[in-house]
């Protein structure tokens, strides 16, 4: 079982040599990272993984009270709780992926400085970890939706539901892509680290998470839809609740932007990965 493959390490490496094969070879590691995170997040808690379900219920309740009851934002006749929950869980998934990606280098600097494994396995495991949480929350959301549907609420799930996997994957990748770019820059400029949490919460307010896009004045609507997250959230909500409409052109643009950001993120990450330990 002598392995005779020759590996060459050189000073320069091509910009686009992303080693997908290696990442696949380390798939067990990626899954173990997921397991570690799951275990670590709910260690020594009484309710354990139940928190995955409780969290969105609590925050959605807060949204309902503040934006629905107090501010009185219209939800186009959709039950308020359901409306806020749909946006909330997808947004949480997106922002979690972004944060996980953004922290890749800084929070793992110690381990990265001592042992080599494909660095990309860390953000990828982040996506999987948050995807698991999302799916649990999504199941909860579907159950709630069905309950509302059978009690005769004006909820209109439609065939666009078939696009759900694409929308979810896209929001995860978009989050990670932005995260990777941020992570690569923070190895040199820590400023961005502070900006991230601020930027993410700001981004939520210019994304139709707590309001339907129909509530935005006509003249601003195009500006909303430039934001690549907006068509995802709006499209997702349309598929399940039937409120608003599906904006095809903004969504295609958003898909293109996502691809671009992920590509750019991977290239930058790949470049920084080699020597970041010298500057971090």
């Amino acid at each position: 079982m002598q392995n005779n493959d020759i590996t060459v390490i050189e000073a320069k490496r091509g910009l686009f040599t992303f080693n997908l094969k290696e990442l696949w070879k380390y798939r067990d590691l990626t899954l173990l990272f997921v397991k570690r995170d799951l275990k670590n997040t709910y260690k020594q808690t009484v309710l354990g993984p139940l928190w995955i379900a409780i969290n969105p219920l609590l925050s959605t309740s807060v949204f309902t009270i503040i934006f629905g009851v107090i501010a009185g934002i219209s939800t186009e006749g959709i039950p308020q709780f359901l409306f806020y929950m749909s946006g909330n869980i997808l947004w949480t998934f997106f922002s979690n992926c972004l944060n996980k990606g953004a922290g890749t280098f800084l929070s793992n600097a110690r381990v990265f400085g001592k042992v080599y494994f494909p660095r990309m396995s860390v953000p990828v495991s982040g996506i999987i970890f948050h995807l698991i949480s999302f799916m649990i929350q999504w199941a909860l959301f579907v159950i709630l939706m069905l309950i509302y549907l059978f009690t005769g609420a004006p909820v209109r799930p439609n065939l666009y539901i078939a696009l759900t996997p694409v929308l979810v994957l896209q929001s995860g990748l978009l989050g990670m892509g932005i995260g990777l770019i941020i992570s690569s820059i923070t190895t040199k400029y820590r400023d961005l680290n502070i900006l991230v949490s601020f930027g993410v919460s700001l981004l939520m307010y210019i994304t139709p998470v707590v309001y339907p896009i129909s509530q935005v004045p006509e003249s601003f609507r195009w500006a909303m839809l430039i934001n690549p997250v907006a068509p995802i959230v709006e499209g997702y909500r349309y598929a399940f609740l039937g409120c608003g409409s599906f904006h095809w052109i903004p969504w295609f643009i958003s898909l293109g932007v996502t691809a671009l950001i992920v590509f750019f993120g991977v290239v930058v990450f790949n470049k920084v990965e080699r020597t970041f330990i010298d500057t971090v």
Binding site: N3, I6, T7, D28, R36, N40, Y189, R190
Partner: protein, 426 residues
């Protein structure tokens, strides 16, 4: 490409680090500095009064380093701090990229630059074995196949399903090392990982490593400041100094080169001629000044069989001294103490006097090899019960050779003292 039996080859390998602060750390200041440079003005962020490093000045942690390592070799790497040892291992294990040159290697590399990297306190010992194994490049099925061996080697069976945050530090290290020792990599890299754990476990680890190399043809690279473990494990040794390879060859020679750095065939030494005082060590109160040491009346430092060692020391009193004593210490080639000759209340005298004293040392019990001597002058400190050292100096080198043990070579591991006091009792 590289030859069949060569597993690691480096060509003109260099790693440079920029001196000074890499950047100011914030984007605003970086832009500020950059703009100032563009306009030919002084950098507003350079420290006032500091003779700042020239732009582009770099520190070469590794400088044109070439080496070829063959399959099954156990290579020790020694050198002072900052010589480039760890940098080399880091380049080899992909942690950072070289600035120039290239490395080629065959097969897989398992690097243990630290024991227990990625261990997570909340996970149990067993789970950590899987996680750590995966981090080091093992697949789940590979760990499955070896988990029993790993647990047995670690001596932690009893606690294997307890979170490692409750482990003692010794258990933690044992478990972590066990994982690393069971990797299937063709090349194993270790950076002082054996410096932890108890002696018994250290021995066990060294034995395991050597067995891997000898029986399974693994190649081992080992960095340590502990010459003992280097000697025990390695078959070849590199000495690095300021990023360059200064020696490559037999372990004993390498250790001598690294520790010694001085001639070992001289028979006298004049301390006054030695401007930079390399032979003297600092003492709190310098009461006498050793000026010369010599083997009097002989022309070689080779002492055979029962031959005694005649040493003459000359010194001058820097102040009035009373009841001065001298201790002649003998260290082995690793600079580990072997024995001492102590003379108390040897001399009292006035300030300014120059004195000479001759000693005759019986070294017949020393085994074959090279020994270093040190001279420590001491006296009773006033109002204190402990001796106060007033002069410490390194000195002559003794080479020992016993004809009696010629046919049965005295092994290094048998120690430096030849004992003959054994009787067989019925």
């Amino acid at each position: 490409m590289i030859e069949e039996n060569v597993v690691i080859k480096t060509e003109h390998l260099s790693k440079e680090y920029k001196l000074g602060v890499i950047n100011t750390g914030t984007l605003r200041r970086d832009i500020q500095s950059h703009l100032a440079r563009l306009r030919g003005k002084e950098d507003p962020n350079s420290k006032i009064g500091s003779n700042s490093y020239e732009k582009g000045e770099v520190f070469l942690a590794l400088d044109d380093f070439n080496v070829e390592i063959k399959r099954g070799e156990r290579v020790g790497i020694i050198g002072a701090n900052g010589a480039g040892k760890s940098t080399f291992l880091k380049l080899l294990s992909h942690i950072t990229a070289p600035s120039k040159g290239k490395i080629q290697y065959r097969g897989r590399i398992a690097s243990m630059l630290e024991v227990g990297t990625g261990f997570h306190g909340e996970l149990t010992g067993r789970e950590n074995v899987y996680l750590n194994g995966a981090i080091l490049g093992m697949s789940k099925s590979e760990v499955d196949a070896k988990i029993d061996q790993i647990i047995e080697f670690s001596e932690c069976e009893q606690f294997i399903d307890t979170p490692v945050k409750r482990y003692s530090s010794g258990m933690f290290v044992k478990l972590a090392f066990s994982v690393a020792a069971h990797l299937d990599a063709e090349i194993m890299i270790m950076d002082e990982v054996l410096a932890v754990g108890d002696m018994k476990f250290q021995k066990k680890c060294l034995k395991k490593m050597r067995d891997l190399a000898v029986e399974e043809d693994r190649t081992i690279l080992y960095v340590s400041h502990n010459m003992d473990t280097i000697q025990e494990l390695c078959s070849r040794c590199l000495v690095l100094d300021h990023g360059k390879k200064v020696f490559d060859g037999a372990v004993e020679e390498a250790i001598k080169q690294y520790l010694g750095g001085e001639k070992d065939d001289f028979i006298s030494h004049d301390y006054t001629a030695d401007k930079d005082d390399r032979f003297k060590e600092n003492v709190r109160h310098h009461a006498v000044n050793l000026t010369r040491c010599a083997f009097n009346g002989i022309t070689s430092n080779l002492f055979t069989d029962d031959e005694k060692v005649p040493i003459a020391l000359s010194w001058e009193n820097l102040e009035d001294v009373e009841n001065l004593g001298v201790r002649i210490e003998i260290d082995d080639y690793r600079r580990y103490p072997v024995t001492s000759f102590v003379v108390r209340n040897m001399y009292s005298g006035k300030k300014g006097e120059s004195v000479s004293q001759r000693f005759l040392l019986d070294v017949s019990k020393l085994s074959n090899g090279v020994y270093y001597t040190r001279y420590i002058f001491f006296r009773k400190a006033k109002g204190s019960r402990v001796d106060e050292d007033v002069e410490i100096a390194k000195g002559l080198v003794i080479r020992r050779y016993n004809h009696a043990v010629e046919h049965e070579a005295w092994l290094k591991t048998w120690g430096s003292y030849m004992s003959d006091g054994v009787e067989l009792i019925d």
